[in-house]
């Protein structure tokens, strides 16, 4: 995989996230938020198993080289569903919540790079990286706060 594809891939991964959130919102209209999230996780589990079989014939799903905590990322993800529901249904509303969500994500990821948290390699922020983060974050906050029909 060529390095020049990484940026479009990451942007598309973000777009997938938006599509997923829109579809999950649709699903939760048919049932309760907790049950729809459970259904989504189940569908994701089946898909992941198929993807893993397709991409990795004889690999193992367990490795001694991976720390135990790294197997439980899905639990942090499930907790994030609950905190997202709490925030969106609070006085913060959708726009306020979304703005703080992306700020929280960005600050945490900068901390991970800066201090090499969770066995990540340390990475220095170049001026160009900082400019990029500033532009995308400002743009996102503008879009989020462009609001619904006024």
């Amino acid at each position: 995989m060529k390095v020049k594809y990484y940026t479009p891939m990451a942007t598309m991964a973000g777009a997938m996230l938006a599509a997923m959130i829109a579809l999950n919102g649709l699903l939760s209209r048919y049932t309760t938020p907790f049950f729809s999230s459970l259904l989504v996780h189940g569908a994701g589990l089946l898909t992941s198993l198929v993807l893993w079989r397709l991409m990795n014939h004889r690999g193992k799903l367990v490795s001694g080289a991976a720390p135990l905590w790294s197997y439980t990322g899905g639990m942090a993800g499930a907790l994030s569903v609950v905190t997202a529901n709490m925030a969106v249904n609070s006085p913060l509303g959708l726009t306020g919540s979304l703005s703080i969500f992306i700020l929280g994500q960005t600050v945490t990821s900068l901390g991970v790079d800066r201090f090499g948290l969770m066995e990540s390699p340390r990475r220095l922020l170049t001026p160009l990286d900082a400019l990029r983060i500033g532009l995308i974050l400002t743009g996102s906050l503008l879009v989020i706060n462009a609001g619904g029909p006024s």
Binding site: A13, I21, G74, M86, D113, L128, I133
Partner: protein, 149 residues
């Protein structure tokens, strides 16, 4: 209000921490393998939350099939993220995913005619696209990244 701001910040923290954990596991058992564990442990905890907190009645029969598409897209997204995070670094992958997410979300809102101030939205989109583009202009950065990988 302050409590809810803390809750919202915690959400951002949890999302990133979850991605980094998955990416760490993906380095050992492939990105798709880490997605399996992500969904397995996530389903378990979500099941516990469901049993503890769900107090409404469930009607299964009327759910359309396309409503499950979100789970399928989610599995692909986690696999791609697990591949990219060790290669791009946490902050670069995070900010690009935020940009892509907002771009498609805005398109969806536009199709639903749900954008209140189009001028603000358009200027935001220009900044996001500029931001996605700006890091790519440095040929040297790409070259060093290729040498490293």
């Amino acid at each position: 209000m302050i409590l809810m701001i803390v809750v919202a910040l915690t959400n951002g923290l949890l999302v990133t921490v979850s991605r980094i954990m998955n990416a760490r596991l993906g380095r050992e058992i492939t990105p798709a393998g880490a997605s399996v564990w992500n969904h397995l442990t996530g389903t378990l905890l979500m099941g516990i939350f469901f049993l503890l907190f769900n107090n409404q009645e469930i009607h299964m029969q009327c759910i359309p099939v396309y409503a499950y598409l979100g789970g399928i897209i989610g599995a692909v997204y986690i696999t791609v993220a697990n591949f990219l995070i060790p290669r791009l670094g946490a902050s670069k992958a995070t900010i690009l995913m935020i940009g892509g997410q907002i771009l498609l979300a805005t398109l969806i809102d536009y199709l639903k005619d749900a954008i209140g101030h189009p001028l603000t939205a358009v200027s935001g989109i220009i900044l996001i696209i500029l931001g996605i583009y700006v890091g790519e202009r440095s040929k040297e950065a790409v070259r060093t990244a290729e040498e490293k990988s």
